[in-house]
Subunit: 265 residues, 2 copies
Amino acid sequence: MTVDRGTRPTRRAVPSTRPPGEGLATADAGGAARPVPAATVARLAVYLRVLTTLLDEGRTVVSSEELAAAAGVNSAKLRKDLSHIGSSGVRGVGYEVSRLTAEVEATLGLTQPHAVALVGVGNLGHALAGYGGFAQRGFPVAALFDVDPALVGTEIGGVEVVHASEIPRVCAERGVTIGVVATPARAAQEVCDHLVAAGVRSILNFAPTVLAVPAGVEVRKVDLAVEMQVLSFHVARRHGSVPAAGPVTGTTAPTAPTPREAVTR
Amino acid sequence: MTVDRGTRPTRRAVPSTRPPGEGLATADAGGAARPVPAATVARLAVYLRVLTTLLDEGRTVVSSEELAAAAGVNSAKLRKDLSHIGSSGVRGVGYEVSRLTAEVEATLGLTQPHAVALVGVGNLGHALAGYGGFAQRGFPVAALFDVDPALVGTEIGGVEVVHASEIPRVCAERGVTIGVVATPARAAQEVCDHLVAAGVRSILNFAPTVLAVPAGVEVRKVDLAVEMQVLSFHVARRHGSVPAAGPVTGTTAPTAPTPREAVTR
DNA sequence: ATCTGTGAACATTTTCACAGCG
DNA sequence: CGCTGTGAAAATGTTCACAGAT
């Protein structure tokens, strides 16, 4: 930001000392190549949602500009992201919606469903279990666990709650590949260990703790307190100093949250 | 990764074209300086949780190494983060827990409570409203909104659910500074607009949509589908190719997830 | 003429490694 | 010594701007 292009110090003539094909596609511990940058992966999921909507609307092609706007990123980033998955748009035209959708889905590994185990059917866990979004999007909730005797044996969304001690057996039987931890903080690490022991290699953690896991296990964390505190930081910063620019009727730019460059420009 | 430093391919005599004190502290649209990098802010919240735990345990000092380990980052990063908030540890000793806690809280703007409005008291929203975590951490839920006549008038956690059309009035009256959107996707933008019109400048969005907001409004998004799909990507990648290194009893390195370099080396 | 794909500039974030305080 | 604070290197991510396909 703050850019002010136009100045263009024109430093050109950079020796370009970069070894040939390095930069991305770095190999990982396992030895498998990772051609898709982490930051890109997270955005692919967003693009996919927009694409799904477009498909429903019967759209057949979309430009990078439009897709980017709907996803809240700029078009250059979108095109670079898509270039990483080897996608192929048509110059002068755009991307074929159905094809691009399929490519993104393939990249994200969504061509097959991933059985999910949800541990902790308390306040939040219960809501997650009842939330249809999981199954809808190819993540069927295959198992529910808790330690509370009052909950074990009950059924949520057609799935019976089983005691957490059964995690190894049940996860193995039902082919669980993704675990969701929605327990209190103090129970989270133990639950996580059981999931890992059961062969689960991807975990979504809602408990406010950092989970320790062996190499090869991916943990993603959703922490409400962290989100709120980050917002608090911004409240404190701007402290009402915002000019409340224009009629605050929302609906500014559906594109990049705001054309800050235009301001700087 | 993959580094193999030591090779050091051409050191590239960088002309060091950088203007003196630039790099961080970039000014923003508003004109206010932001000395704390965004990436750091998000981690401060994590450090804070660990610090709180340490306080409860009666600890008085902690080293960057230990704090970093508990927070799941490496110690260099932690020290750099803390340096941005002007913190002051004691060399050869560590950080005073209570003092550091206060400094982090001050930076995050947690010295005063932030009234929260939660819009959408459906499945997820209800769970969030009932979740004690908000109030506990200085984010009292000051208002609940929904459009469902069956919900309006009911009470959750001592707060009455009000019709969403009242957002402007109620938010103003109760001094709401943070809004949480937990509505279905189709309603999210409109709700967001109302919140913004009511003066809310920080929004946490659980709806699977990109919200368009005017400049000066901060939106953070929690998207379960995105998280799941990112995990799916990793499931697809490692496809059971993981060597299952060592006894899978968890508790590997609480610090840096794993010394990958050692492997590559 | 239009819109993708991409090299290279730029910006941010992470990591290293070490000077220097206690 | 042990441990913080920090310059500087490396890595990662974003944006620009344009060549080139259609």
